[in-house]
Symmetry: D2
Subunit: 341 residues, 4 copies
């Protein structure tokens, strides 16, 4: 039985408490928050749960195996570092930290202490994203040409991070996961229309190995809520629409074939393939439950799907996007630290 | 009565012949094509129409006032130049020419000869685009923040021009027209997945004056046919979906207001406005008919909406996109020749 | 402060407990269920709530003002009658009872005892249905011609009532409410494909006064979940789609005008009007909260929107539908008892 | 080579002339219309076509093998009868005639004269309808439970026939064709909101053998144009949406299974099956071309898909719908004459 303490009971923390509580392998014993009202609410929902305004009580508690962190981004690093130092396993909400340096330090610290560090990139636990990954890795889509995503809506504006750090972690995490590789370069243009200095719209192009391009559109200023990802392969194409409840993935048996033997007059021959559309039924399990169970499994030896390294790679991409935006879209080559291999 | 000769009876030419024929102010007397089969077909449809395989017969014919050119792009410049030199008014399909230099030369030549030069940017004659223009210029949308467009489908691949020259002329023409200004810089990333050296996918970001951004996604490799333009203003937002037959424009009474007087603690106050959606009824007149009538009106003195200058500005943007793609998305400042003022 | 006891904690009861608990004017003191597991769950959620397996404890409790009934339909009559006899106000889930006679008796009993009897027809508390009612009563739609509804999905099959009694109460309640009148005749055809004797599909046509027709399609055997209502008026038309989260009501400025003065040749002149579409922003308050608050207001003197009489009228229509189905769709004139005036 | 004469060059006639003209096996030699303007237009389009205002010239012309009739419904019978009497094959637009008696007489006349009589029920030549037929006859959908259709839009009102005779012929023809049987009873309720005496809205329920129900909603008074057919089978369900250009048929691997061996307590066990959705790619050939070719094939011996008998069966159903509407929806048993076997 894994004993768990949760730091942060604001927006997302209660979801984590609920899920870990419902799992057989975990026992959530204590939570902390600076806001006493939130603690009272938690106590009301879970009468046996201990509460505190001092997170150190959790970290010092030797009976606690794992610390779950659901606080503002700026506090992720000190809290996670302190917990790892104290020998706890750590589950931290995304993005992992505010800077690449902090992220590298956390990953190294988890290695040194031989503890599990996992980041809350929930999408990699969804049935839809795993279906897309399967379709790619099985070769059903053929070679992947490019991806294009839109993750846009009206607000909610954040005051401490821009739209890239708010929304793009999902897309980068998903794309790294489904492709199984990480981007090598990025070019991004953004603008701050509402809050000076905090981009609310950004257009990002990532280059992955093998000439795979990925274009991301993230915005807090869009009339519609859209969460869509198009994946274009040489054999088939798909659209993953996370807003749709029953038809999240549409697979198009469509493509362009290059006819290999063409005559010397240089006539380039193309053949278009238009085919059926298939909408697979997806399992409807709650991704957060999968993710929490996965954290337990990893502590028992499994390899984390959204490990500290995965979260760090996402961070490095976000950082490069920021730098490209400052240079008006100049392409930035992304360098990954040795820690990431 | 304007007497008209048409060069090129392939894909688009017959539409132009049909429209000019149906207008009261024009008389299509002759058409030319290198393919005798096409000429026979035209003769079958319009028994009184003269046909020829030699376009020079049209240009030399003193009874012809205006020449309409619907041939491959590479031939636009020589044909239009020859026609203008011969004192004809010229209606030329888009894009105007293959190079900026050629385009400048044509515009100057039309000025010298005092002839009308018009380019077939049909979208600026649609009810939908004009509705969007009205909504912007009346101030109903507020200040324009940014636009994002998708013009994607599967094929049809061109062999002589890339996807930017095939599809982006529409978007650039539309955006220049509805904003009433032209872009100052461009950044674009594209790739050739199918035909070596001919980009089939491109992501383009244009900077217009007043911090207006416009992001374009053009692709010959997309599972769905999409022609959508989102315009985000400070007061309202709209989506123009050219695929929809009855609901082309949706106006969202949605926005973010910055509350002006906020306290010294620097708390930035935002207010979200969610409101009704309005779908205006649009007139269903054929845009090409409007365009052909407009050509007649311009010869009689009206100012061309899709003038040679408009077509040249589009050309200059396309050329800058190509250059940015070659430099991996580096931002290119766009310079307009003196001819354009 | 209204003191409340709830009988039945299965599917819907907990929603009623939650809503009454959250209202300032009500105090939910006790709930009953035959299933001890459900009671334990309620106790866990609301530690101060008394629980019992014997509903009589609630009815006999003199400190309880109002009884809320959320049990299977067959028990509605005895429970509600016993509660009214004991001088309680009663909120009963829909449909009110299993038979018209029982319904009449309950309405009369509430009158005799001068207690409030309200039926849980939640839809009449939604923003969407009230918007439709406003559009009708303000005359904006013109004279109402006809309505057509679809309330279909796959399952969930009930074992004790047919699809008409399961789904049509919503439609009949909504239509009676928005029109402000009740139907005078009904014709219905249904069939039992899965469970012998329990119709799972039914097509119903109601005749309202002034030649208004309403066609209902209810089904447990449909590939899509649809909840749509089309209202056709002489001036405008609307579609109310309850599945849509953001665009529930679309108002079409469309219609057919009869040109009044036409010539003696009997040429009938019609003029078609095609216009804008308008999608009003609707308030998103939880209807059940509105309904529970309304129950409190009614006890304090307001006139119930979904009164016992409203529930009884719905019941009478359902009963007539059943009879028409037994007679292969023969039209049944609906008679309302004197109690309903 | 089949020689063809066409009577009626109004709305639909020119489509028939175009299609027969383009087929290799047919030679359209002459057409007639009362309106000289229409004849001039036909002459302009097809210079070698003879034209006449007197249809008798066509019927008397011994060089003509087949007569195509595209005139108002009231003239179908006399024209077709005269043509058959003269020994011509006849292709007549739908509905075949104005009365059942007339239809019977034409079918018998074609038999007597051993000529082909075909009715223009175009939908049975579409790829979509044939795909639905295949899915049913192959057993992929299982036993068919019921069908429900909507064929509604705003106008265009007819002055001589009601909405049932205007729109329902399509549905009845399609359903008879895909099921391979004809309905045994009908119940219908309609109303005339705009033109006195001419129903503009009708709700129809047909009973086919084996307890298959089919519900039709036809209307000239609907805000949206809808042409949809839902087919519910015991194994799978499908929706055929004729408005959609690329996704006309959606097949849902969804259903309800009755678990056969249930315990003696009478607990009825159901199992719900939710599965993938499949959208087959359909061939895009013009149905009218298929239909015209089929007419030629039938004269050469093939069995007509939309034979005179098929058209007569549709007519008999329309007639029964009219009678049920006059009796406020009373169920009418449909009797088919001996001629139909």
């Amino acid at each position: 039985m894994l004993t768990v303490g949760v730091i942060g009971c604001g927006y997302w923390g209660p979801n984590l408490i609920r899920n870990f509580t419902n799992l057989k392998g975990a026992d959530v014993r204590i939570c902390s928050d600076l806001d006493k009202g939130r603690l009272e609410h938690m106590k009301h929902l879970y009468p046996s749960l201990a509460v505190t305004t001092d997170y150190r009580e959790i970290i010092k508690d030797e009976s606690i195996d794992a610390v779950v962190i659901a606080t503002p981004v700026s506090t992720h690093f000190p809290l996670a570092a302190e917990a790892l130092e104290a020998g706890k396993h750590v589950f931290c909400e995304k993005p992992l930290t505010q800077s690449v340096e902090e992220g590298v330090r956390l990953v190294e610290l988890a290695d040194e202490k031989d503890r599990t560090l996992m980041v809350g990139h929930t999408f990699v636990y969804t049935a839809a994203v795993n279906k897309v990954k399967d379709l790619i890795s099985s070769g059903e889509l053929g070679d992947i040409h490019y991806m294009s995503t839109a993750r846009v809506n009206l607000g909610l504006f954040q005051e401490d991070i821009n739209v890239v750090w708010d929304l793009a972690p999902h897309d980068v995490s998903i794309m790294n996961y489904i492709l199984g590789v990480r981007p090598v370069a990025v070019s991004a243009i953004g603008h701050s229309y509402i809050q000076p200095g905090i981009q609310d719209v950004s257009f990002v192009t990532l280059r992955y190995p093998d000439s795979i391009l990925a274009n991301l559109h993230v915005s807090w200023l869009n009339p519609n809520k859209i969460r869509s990802t198009t994946v274009v392969g040489s054999k088939k194409m798909l659209v993953y629409d996370d807003i749709s409840s029953l038809e999240k993935i549409r697979i198009y048996d469509k493509g362009v074939d290059v006819i290999p033997h063409y005559d010397t007059f240089g006539e380039f021959q193309l053949s278009y393939r238009y085919g059926d559309i298939h909408i697979p039924k997806l399992d409807e399990a709650e991704p957060l439950k999968m993710e929490c169970q996965h954290f337990i499994d990893c502590i028992e030896g499994a390899r984390p799907r959204s490990s500290g390294r995965h979260g760090l790679e996402v961070l490095i991409v976000l950082d490069a996007i920021d730098r490209s935006m400052k240079q008006n879209g100049a392409e930035i080559e992304i360098e990954y630290p040795k820690t990431l291999g």
